[in-house]
């Protein structure tokens, strides 16, 4: 049976090297034309392209998913001008595609799980596709839902908590001691690469930078690269007097910062706190310095321990996040199922109502002696009989919306009650946007106000978030 389905075809850092991703990347100015091509040639009713440095993916809705997937693969091969790209492509459809969308937006598929940029990139992709007119109700709703999943994941799990690189952690700790690095001074002792990176990171937050090194030429070189001043190693003690943060990364095999030096320094500093970061192996700072008052010493093991803890916390959080994604995927599919079932539900109710309406009118025609109050009571009784009779069948149909059994039930209902065959697309998909107001749901058979509302209204569904309990 042909049915409308979500499809995704693409490649990412998981499957493709950077060269290939670069070759297929779609800058914003080319994306609009590509979206048009995709819809014309790839059996897509709706289409959206996500192109970042880590992924190039086409998201779509198609009433012929199998053909769409084949065409999309071909299109990727054509654009890469190489059949080898096939090995790097993955494809998802149906619930797999929905789950993938949610996972990508929630940064669960990212290189650094929990990184925040991807959500913004996906949002841009959606607005680009919306402007190009290639996004309709289904894809639009799916991505809106993906954003809300991402928000939930960030809010309810620790997925984005804690930085995971040594220089960011150093920066975070420095800010925990000095609140802001603006105007603080950072001393870089030695000119190792790792130290340079950390110093650059701190300088970016507004700190002044001084580099001391055994080789003045190298000190000057690093200072130039990071926008700081260079000093000779003999000025170490003097510079320690003024520094708020000192990062040491020399390749000396002896301690450079000893308790003796630090005693002098602390006295001169009038007990202003100093944050020492020793990322040299072997270490540059005597560990005894760490127990001195107002001196905070972190070596490379300490920093890496923090990084590992943060990463572990993110991984634990990813587990919880996957559960959220699972639940939201199920909820979205349920919504889709009810969407597809809506015409049958509406027709079934309409059939019953019209029969009752006709019969009541005919009976009332014969009972002219009844006063208006009695006539209303009779009408209400008839409505009530319809509602009660329909309660169970409607509930069953709705509950089985997303199972294959649901399709059989719909078929049975259509034959048993001689209902008209609905069009291939559910009405909500052909309209602009389905109403999301839960109070306007004609699908709830238990709703007492239902008879006061015309049935040819657009079927409306509660927002997914509010239906969690019922799914």
């Amino acid at each position: 049976m042909k049915s409308t389905s979500f499809v995704v075809v693409g490649l990412s850092h998981h499957t493709a090297p950077i060269e290939l991703r670069e070759r297929l990347a779609l800058p914003a100015d080319q994306a609009a034309r590509e979206l048009e091509t995709l819809r014309e040639r790839c059996h897509l009713d709706e289409a959206l392209v996500v192109s970042t440095c880590n992924r190039v993916e086409v998201y779509g809705v198609s009433s012929a998913p199998t053909e769409a997937l084949t065409r999309l693969r071909e299109r990727f091969i054509e654009r890469a001008a190489s059949p080898n790209v096939q090995q790097s492509l993955y494809e998802r459809w149906g619930s797999e595609a929905i789950r993938h969308t949610f996972r990508v937006a929630a940064s669960l598929d990212s290189m650094v799980v929990g990184e925040p940029q991807i959500l913004g990139q996906v949002k841009e992709a959606l607005s680009l596709a919306t402007m190009a007119g290639s996004v309709g109700t289904l894809l639009g709703r799916c991505f809106e839902q993906a954003f809300s999943v991402a928000k939930r994941v960030r809010g309810e799990t620790a997925i984005a908590a804690g930085t995971v690189s040594v220089s960011s952690i150093a920066c975070e700790l420095a800010e925990k001691i000095f609140s802001s690095l603006e105007g603080r001074s950072v001393l870089l002792i030695g000119a190792g690469k790792m130290g340079e990176n950390a110093a650059k990171r701190l300088a970016r937050s507004g700190a002044r930078l001084v580099v001391v090194n055994r080789s003045p030429a190298r000190a000057a070189e690093v200072a130039r690269a990071c926008g700081g001043e260079a000093r000779g190693i003999e000025q170490l003690s003097t510079e320690l007097l003024h520094a708020d943060v000192a990062i040491s990364s020399t390749n000396s095999d002896r301690f450079i910062v000893t308790p003796e030096i630090m005693h002098e320094v602390i006295r001169g500093r009038k007990r202003r706190p100093i944050f020492l970061i020793d990322i040299a192996v072997p270490r540059d700072v005597d560990p005894r310095v760490g127990s001195m008052e107002n001196v905070f010493l972190y070596d490379v093991d300490d920093l890496e321990k923090v990084a590992h803890e943060n990463l572990a916390a993110r991984r634990r959080a990813a587990g919880e996040a996957e559960t959220i994604v699972e639940r939201e995927t199920a909820a979205f599919e349920h919504w889709l199922g009810t969407l597809a079932m809506t015409p049958t539900l509406v027709a079934l109710r309409e059939r019953f109502r019209s029969v009752v309406h006709d019969e009541v009118e005919r009976t009332l025609g014969r009972l002219q002696h009844l006063d208006p109050k009695e006539r209303d009571a009779l009408k209400a009784m008839a409505e009530s009989i319809v509602n009660k009779l329909l309660h169970r069948p409607l509930t069953e149909l709705k509950n089985h919306a997303q199972h294959t059994q649901g399709t059989q039930l719909i078929e049975a209902a259509r034959r048993l009650f001689d209902l008209p065959n609905p069009s291939a697309l559910p009405p909500a998909m052909t309209q602009e946007t389905p109403s999301l107001s839960p109070s306007a749901s004609p699908l709830n058979p238990g709703e007492s106000k239902i008879h006061s509302r015309p049935f040819d209204e657009a079927p409306a569904l509660a927002p997914l978030g509010e239906r969690k309990g019922k799914v």
């Binding site: 700790l173 800010e175 925990k176 001691i177 000095f178 609140s179 009038k270 007990r271 202003r272 706190p273 760490g290 008052e293 107002n294 905070f296 972190y298 300490d302 321990k305 923090v306 803890e309």
Partner: protein, 267 residues
């Protein structure tokens, strides 16, 4: 215990709930409980205002005379200062230290009799001035005390490299340190004048000598004077200054406790 008495304890109850909520915010990062804690603090505040108004109009509001009013206003000012500070700065986690203090003040107020009618000998303009100055001083020191506790905790965690939840939720060390210093510097002249007026007042009533309460008040003054002196002259900062502030405030608390016990026992 009369219904009225129970009513007087209601702010303390709100502050106790707030303390629990803030503790959950600090320990587990429970934002929802944190927000509720702030609400509880606000409700306690409102309850205290209502009680003060009630007292002013229904029973007789006897200036700033008794320890009951003193404690009541102390907790009121403390909560007001904290709520307005945390509305502007991200200091909510400090509620875990401030709310219990507000609770103790409000509990003290709830347990002491309010109707201390002053003997004509004690009626003097000096008394409300003395109490008012001390009140403001105590509130400044109470906030400095909370900041210092947070400092000591935060510094210990940084030193032990325990960078878990509590660490993440407390403000940076230098914020705690400089705010603490400012509060002590503001509270000190208030306490000084408070003690001077108190001593003049006490000597006028009873020229025989000073009570143990005044002894502790002077001890608190000496500790705070030391903290300030060492800070400005010897560049003391950080942990030592925080511990000094904590000790100074504990002395001030002993003074207050003495008053509460005397008033509670007497009533």
């Amino acid at each position: 215990m009369s219904t009225e008495h129970l009513l007087f304890l209601s702010p303390a109850l709100f502050y106790a709930l707030a303390s629990l909520g803030f503790a959950a915010l600090l320990a587990r990062g429970d934002e929802t409980l944190g927000r509720r804690a702030k609400l509880a603090l606000g409700l306690g505040f409102a309850a205290q205002i209502l009680l003060l108004v009630y007292r002013a109009f229904v029973s007789h509001f006897d200036s700033l005379g008794g320890i009951h009013q003193t404690l009541s206003i102390a907790s009121l000012l403390l909560v007001l200062a904290f709520l307005s500070a945390s509305a502007r700065y991200p200091l909510s986690a400090l509620g875990a230290f401030v709310a219990p203090l507000a609770f103790f003040f409000a509990l003290g107020a709830g347990l002491t009799p309010e109707g201390t009618t002053l003997s004509p000998r004690m009626r003097s303009l000096l008394l409300p001035v003395h109490i008012g100055l001390n009140l403001l001083g105590v509130v400044a020191f109470a906030l400095a005390f909370a900041l210092s506790l947070a400092y000591v905790l935060q510094e210990r965690q940084l030193r032990r490299k325990q960078l878990g939840g509590i660490f993440k939720r407390l403000p940076p060390l230098d914020v705690l340190d400089s705010l603490g210093l400012r509060l002590v510097a503001a509270g000190f002249p208030l306490l000084t004048l408070g003690i001077v007026t108190g001593t003049i007042f006490a000597l006028r009533i009873d020229p025989q000598g000073l009570s143990p309460g005044q002894g502790f008040a002077i001890l608190a003054w000496v500790v705070f004077a030391g903290v300030l002196l060492l800070r400005f002259a010897a560049g003391w900062r950080g942990r030592r200054a925080a511990i000094g502030t904590i000790l100074g405030f504990l002395c001030a608390l002993v003074v207050l406790l003495g008053y509460v016990l005397r008033a509670g026992g007497g009533g």
